[in-house]
Amino acid sequence: MKRFSRFLLWATGCAIFVAVAVSPAISADKIKMGFVFSMTGGAASYGVSQKEGAQLAVDQINAAAGSGMQVTPIFEDDASVPQQGTNVYNKLINGDKVAVVIGPTLSNTAKITNPIAQQIGVTVLGVSNTAGGITEIGDYIFRNSLTEAVVIPNTIRVAKEKLGLKKVVLFYGNDDAFTKSGADVFRKVLQAEGIQILGEQTFAKGDRDFSPQLTQIKSQSPDAIICSALVEEASGIVSQARQLGIAKNVRIVGGNGFNSPALIKNAGEAAEGVIVGAAWNFSSTNPLNVKFVDDYTKKYNHPPDQFAAQAFAGVFIVYQAAKSAGTADNRKAIRDAMLKIKGIDTLLGKFSFTEGRDADHSPVVQEVKNGKFSVFVK
Amino acid sequence: MLEVHDLTVSYGPIEAVREVSFRVEAGAVVSLVGPNGAGKTTALNAVSGVIPARRGRILFEGRDITRMSPHQRVSEGIVQIPEGRLVLAGMTVRENLEMGAYRRPRPEIAASIDRMEARFPILRERSGALAGTLSGGEQQMLAIARGLMAKPRLLLLDEPSLGLAPLIVRLIFEIIRELQAGGQTILLVEQNARQALAVSSHAYVMENGKVVLEGPAESLTSDPAVISSYLGQAISSPT
């Protein structure tokens, strides 16, 4: 017992010492990228995809660079907890002295971590944050993830045009920042397009049973169900809707959150006909994308999702900026180079940053057809 | 049958029983008497194994059982009917009886219950009732019947008359006498000294965790020391 307690003290002391003492030297031909992803906790499934996508990009860059600029990645886990995100940010920026930070996974975390980077002057590239107000934090904050505010209006317009939507029901997760703000955009766009909202239903993160809400929705006979959800809940909603006998011609329309092979894997047959507005199309024939899907599937034994794709693209964008700035550690120079990124080729298509440092590339509207995402034509 | 040598039992720093020795011969009824707080129940609990002995040895039929777990002792045939009865209030009377035979082979149980219910008709009458709804006297009957269901070789009876009306107390001692006639070995702890001595062949008087007096029950009945241990030393014989 006494020994155990002594051990605890000793371990605490050692840990703090090690953490302080190890402030590795910065080497000029290696760019240090810090990654903050949620690898455990509630958002673990997204964080793990992101890490895989980013790791693949780093490996490919380093293999190709030869004696050129290499990438040293430092992956950290924020456990899906904003507090831990803050701690990790401080550690990466002030301890590891990274040149840029990619992440964090969740928008809520980003809202409290990104100001830290802004204050010190470190470029942050969000690769999955879609909530409003992220890039407004400051001029060091970028993202390559198309926001729902871009994706959703496009989706609704296309869906209205091709399906003649008149009355719909809005179904969303109301205790999550991503799904809630997505729903707000949906609502605004639907009103602007003159589509009647028959009613709204909500669910909570982690819910698996959606039948009470879907039963209500069914009784309102909408033309479509407009849904703001992440893929876990989306799969359940889609399969339970069909199980409850909501007819196939009542389309389910979702945003970025739906854009994952997991939807098709989990919902199976029921996923057919689901309309997904997204930043990235799995079956895009863009050669960069085809190669990415191939490499990823080979390396990890499962197909990539949008999280992996955006993380992959993010690493390349940052690398591109650093190369054109000609520096691996000048934080300001890298930021300036980021601002100049215009029309570069990525697996997401031609990519630029807007003036507000948000992603600028064209969104896609997809439909699940024969167990695959394909461009929605009707 | 049972030999207890220099038994010491303590709760934390408090020694409730100090170096007590006693023995029970097969077929005999032996009682431990004495005032409240003398350590009688503690001694009994040490024999049934509910409380571990700190020092000393307990032999049952020549074998050392001091370190045996309580449920093993039940298998050996040492069965305690505890103070306060401890009937299983949320279970039916019949289930209580069944639990009494927990360590016996299943096929024998039904017949045993029949015999028990024949002996205590009230238990047959209330067979399906929850034990908690029985009156105090009925609960004591149930506790005794439940103890007997285990076919004890040594029955430890703890304060069977506690809190019961005089009429019921008489009935309980009637039952003890019957058991004795049937050859049941009993170690009895009882505050009601006169009744206890009347059914016993041998007795030990305890005071403050120690045995202060022992002898054949009859000789103790008239021993003024026994009375004094209960009602104070100054007492003369009742008038």
Binding site: M1, F4, L8, T12, F75, N90 | -
Partner: protein, 293 residues
């Protein structure tokens, strides 16, 4: 000096969270000291945090006013909640406060003024490390002093034995409500500071798992002395950093180590980490309840 600045740059946020969590843990300690198992203090922190945030954002109140306002609001709710629920004991009290916490969280999700799921944004980041630790020091001093005051003696008597305490003249209901309310106020203050540390607060910052964390801080640190909860909060808040420091990789392994450490502490240090620093008497062992013959 430079090294110190560097240390603060890297670990400043950890240090801040240690302070906030310690203050929260201390707030629950007020309640635990009287033997009441409450899971409501995270909700009180939430009430304090939201109230303070709203005061700052919507009414442009100065920081100190917001902090006190948050604390007061939490205290009032604590008083109103305490009067009916403190009749309950043990797990039942825990469940009632838990249900209360959930209702508060759901209210925060559904109300407009709290900003719903996206949380209350636009709160300036004006809590400083010195403020947190000043508040913590004051609370700890208050707590330690309180223990030696009339209320403190009463609460400890209640924890040890309610009936005996009543027979010594301790008004049990009154003292329990007082302890509960003080705890709520301290939690509310901590929540208010937290709101001004992070730019935003969301309903999830004050949910069930946070409530459980506060309990864990107390038990791991030790409930019987004022610095117990502080130790517990410090160790467990810093644990991810410590594990990172000793090279335990992120992910499941770190989570598992976390669980194992918790288990070891509870098994081998029954009075928590505090017992390493002070000679606390062992937790009473269940003996037969005053067995008598």
């Amino acid at each position: 000096m430079e090294q110190l600045a560097q240390f603060y740059a890297v670990y400043g946020s950890v240090i801040n969270f240690i302070g906030i969590n310690a203050l929260l843990a201390l707030s629950l300690n007020f309640t635990l000291a009287a033997g009441m198992l409450s899971l409501g203090n995270a909700a009180f922190a939430g009430i304090g945090g939201y109230t303070a945030g709203i005061l700052t954002v919507h009414l442009k109140a100065p920081l100190i006013v917001s902090l006190c306002g948050g604390s007061l609001m939490a205290g009032v709710v604590g008083l109103l909640l305490g009067m009916p629920v403190l009749r309950l004991k043990g797990v039942f009290l825990a469940m009632a406060t838990l249900a209360f916490g959930e209702v508060v969280r759901i209210a925060a999700v559904n109300l407009d003024i709290t900003g719903g799921a996206e949380g209350l944004t636009g709160i300036p980041n004006i809590t400083r490390t010195w403020m947190i630790f000043l508040a913590l020091a004051l609370a700890a001093y208050f707590m330690a002093t309180l223990r030696r005051s009339r209320i403190g003696w009463g609460l400890i008597s209640i924890r040890e034995d309610e009936t005996a305490a009543a027979c010594l003249g301790v008004d049990i209901t009154y003292y329990k409500v007082v302890a509960f309310t003080i705890g709520a106020m301290v939690a509310g203050f901590a929540g208010a500071m937290y709101a001004h540390l992070n730019y935003l607060i969301t309903p999830r910052d004050f949910g069930f798992f946070i409530a459980v964390d506060l309990l864990v801080y107390n038990i791991v640190g030790g409930t019987r002395i004022w610095y117990g909860p502080i130790l517990g909060a410090a160790l467990l808040t810093a644990l991810p950093e410590i594990l990172r420091g000793v090279g335990v990789a992120a992910g499941p392994v770190r989570l598992a180590v976390n669980g194992v450490i918790l288990l070891l502490v509870i098994l081998f240090l029954p009075n928590g980490l505090a017992s390493l620093f002070t000679r606390l008497r062992p937790v009473a062992v269940k003996t037969g309840r005053a067995e008598r013959t």
